[in-house]
Each structure stands twice: as structure tokens, then as C-alpha cells.
Assembly symmetry: C2
DNA sequence: GTCTATAGCAGGATAGAC
DNA sequence: GTCTATCCTGCTATAGAC
């Protein structure tokens, strides 16, 4: 039995994958509906158009998944006795790069986010408001107690730098990263990257302490 | 007098701006030719199609501009008595974020590069081979002597991390960066970012030295 | 070399039968 | 609710006049 719920869910699943793989413009309603095994008119019937379907993918798939990653990060953190900066960063990198979702799903997620960064539609705003902004606030609060003397702005920028590294290495920069290092993104390389990001960021954070000493 | 050279040049200039602003798919030959004041057929006549025009934009505009930025970096470096890691990184960030081109041109350049990262066509390969790869090699060679004990791979990853920060803060991450910091990208903020990237990276590099001491 | 007119195609959306 | 047939728009590319 395929209830109308099933059709909607399948449309969301199929279109999310296609949007991530090929980008919004390169996916046609014809392709979505044929792969979802539904009718050509179904996208318009259920969502009111291709653009609305895209938005719903963010609301019903991307946001909840991002929240799961967020929760995963929190539980990781609780598992440590004490949240040191190193522990925070490592939990962060691992949550994003090896988090609570399958490899393929994570890749879809990162790909769509990356596309929205360079081709922003309204959908990025949904993520910003629902996930990115609150998450950023939380990280800042976690880091702050360790760097009492640092300004709020410096802490914010450091937080952004850590996410920049994660986003770049986990997806946006894949092509140049592979080209320059000569490596493919297998599990071993991902582990190496998590390790690198953690250490580079951890040392980077030190400027919050030592920044004022030298000139 | 408009020689055929003029038409070609105008087509390259106009289309580069449009491709950067709207992305390849959202620019039509009609718009390009009308803004360039040339005929609808001129793109096909001179370049052999929209795709070829796009490639030529990279070959004739992006690559030379990137080489100018590269040269600017080198001259910056020579101006210092001694190339310390801090000097190298600062020159790097400044070359990209305040380099030898006007603000609008730099924004176009970064925008196109960013689009190619998430929507790769063959054009990114041109940049990789002609600019990105050789540039990355050069930076590595510059940094290497300062961190004798570090592995080649770690140095490569650090180099990539520095470029990741530059790329993220200068364009890809603009929307989240503005949202989280509450600031707009004016000259003052750009200066602050250059400063932050330099310091964060400089401290980050330290793990190349100290990495082995602590477990 | 330059231009117009048009071929040829693909896509989103919808009307209306069932 | 589901499906098909079709409309309409917008695009690239090109043929052929000038």
C-alpha cells in the first residue's frame, strides 16, 4: 500500500539525493517523479512546485539531520569528564565528519549545504536560523570559560575558523585537497583529517591566550 | 571603431561578471550579448558556444589574474628581510583578500572560484593545473625550512588549512560569517579578518613543532 | 563579419479525464 | 487522489540573407 504519505516521503528522499548530487537546476521534476515512481504531477500536487519541494527538503530532512548531529555532539561532550578545548574541537570535527549518519547520507548533507553556500537560495536562511546560529552560540559558550581574557569577537572568529576547516575539508575543498595531497577520501584519510583539524584548531585557539603578549 | 578583438574582449568581460554573479546556468547568451552590445550569434561565432566562452573566461581572465595575485604575493615576500611563517601567512592572506585587483574584480574572482568548487566543471581543472597546484607547492617549500621535523604530509595539510580559512572567510562563508558576527564586509572588517586568519594560522602551524611532545 | 529568423528541444506547470 | 496530454516559456544553436 502506498498512502499519500509514502509518496511525499519518497519524493523528499529522492529529490534530496538528486539536488545534492546535481544541484537544483540540473534536476527536473520529470527525473524526480520517475525515480520516485510517482506521477509527473505529484510534485505540484503535494508541494506546489519544484521550489517548494526544495524548501521542504531543507525543513523536513536537512534541519532534523543537522539537529541529530548537534545532539550527537552534545552526547559526545557529556561522555568526557571535562570539556577541554581539545575535546570540544575533536567532538565537533567527529560529529560532522563521522557523525550519527551513514556515509552516503552525510555526503548528501554536506553537498547540499555547500551548494547553498555558493548558490544561496532562501533555504540557507532556514538552516542558519534553525541550526547554524544556535550551534555557533553554543560552541562559543563552551569555549569561552577557557579563554577568560579573550574578547567575544575573537572567540566568535575562532569558532568560525574551526567550522571553516571542517566545511572545507569535508566537502567544499575535496577536489583541491585530493589534487594537492594525492589522496582519496577513504576512512583512513578522513581520520587523518579529523586529527589534523583538531590539532591545527587547538593550537590556533592559543592565540586567544597569547595574542596580546607579542606586539 | 570596434574591431572583432573588441567584441571578443567585451564578451569575456561581460560574461565573466554575469557568470560570477548568477552562475553559469542562470546566464543566457541573450543576456550576455545584449549587455556586451553584440549580436546574439556572436558568442557562437567567436567562441563556438556558451560552454567554450565559459572556459575561455577561465583561460583568459581567471588564470592571468590568479598569476598576478601570485606575483603580488612573491613581491610582498621579497619586501620582507626574512620570510618568517607569520610573514608568509600574512602576505598570503593579504594577497587574496586585498591583493592587486579592485574590490569588485576580486569579488568576481572569488565568487567564480567558489562556484567551481561546489559545481565543478572542467574549468576548475584549468585553475588547478595552472595556478592552485603550483602555488600550493611554493607555499609548502617556503614553510618547510621552518619546521624541519614535520612530515611532508602535515605541512601539506597545514598549507591547505590556511587556504581553507582564506577561501571561507573571503567568500564561501560570507553569509554565515555575517550572520554570526553581525558585521558587514567593509574594509575594516576585512582587515580584522586578515589579522585573525594570520594569527589563528600562525598558532595553528605550531603543532608542526610541538605536535609530538604531547601524546 | 554581422544580423535576423527560426529550428529544435527541454523544462515547469496545469487542465481535465478517470 | 492519480494520471495523461498539452500548453507555454525560455533556451542554445544555426541557416542563410545582407
Amino acid at each position: 500500500m502506498k498512502s499519500s504519505q509514502d509518496v511525499k516521503e519518497r519524493l523528499l528522499d529522492v529529490s534530496e539525493r538528486l539536488f545534492a548530487q546535481k544541484g537544483y537546476d540540473h534536476v527536473s521534476i520529470r527525473e524526480i517523479t520517475s525515480k520516485a515512481g510517482s506521477n509527473l504531477a505529484s510534485v505540484n500536487y503535494y508541494f506546489g512546485g519544484k521550489g517548494r519541494l526544495y524548501e521542504e527538503v531543507f525543513r523536513q530532512r536537512m534541519v532534523p539531520r543537522a539537529k541529530r548531529i548537534h545532539d550527537f555532539f552534545r552526547s559526545r561532550l557529556r561522555a568526557q569528564k571535562e570539556s577541554t578545548p581539545g575535546g570540544i574541537i575533536k567532538s565537533l570535527a567527529e560529529s560532522f565528519m563521522k557523525g550519527p549518519v551513514g556515509d552516503e547520507e552525510r555526503e548528501l548533507h554536506q553537498q547540499l549545504i555547500a551548494r547553498e553556500h555558493t548558490n544561496p537560495t532562501g533555504a540557507l536562511d532556514i538552516m542558519l536560523k534553525e541550526v547554524i546560529y544556535p550551534f555557533a552560540q553554543e560552541i562559543q559558550e563552551l569555549i569561552k570559560p577557557w579563554f577568560k581574557g579573550a574578547s567575544k569577537e575573537d572567540i566568535t572568529l575562532c569558532t568560525l575558523s574551526i567550522t571553516a576547516l571542517i566545511i572545507y575539508f569535508s566537502f567544499i575543498g575535496r577536489i583541491p585537497v585530493s589534487a594537492v595531497t594525492g589522496r582519496v577520501y577513504d576512512e583512513k584519510f578522513t581520520d587523518l583529517l579529523v586529527d589534523h583539524i583538531t590539532r591545527f584548531s587547538l593550537y590556533g585557539l592559543n592565540y586567544l591566550i597569547k595574542g596580546k603578549e607579542d606586539s
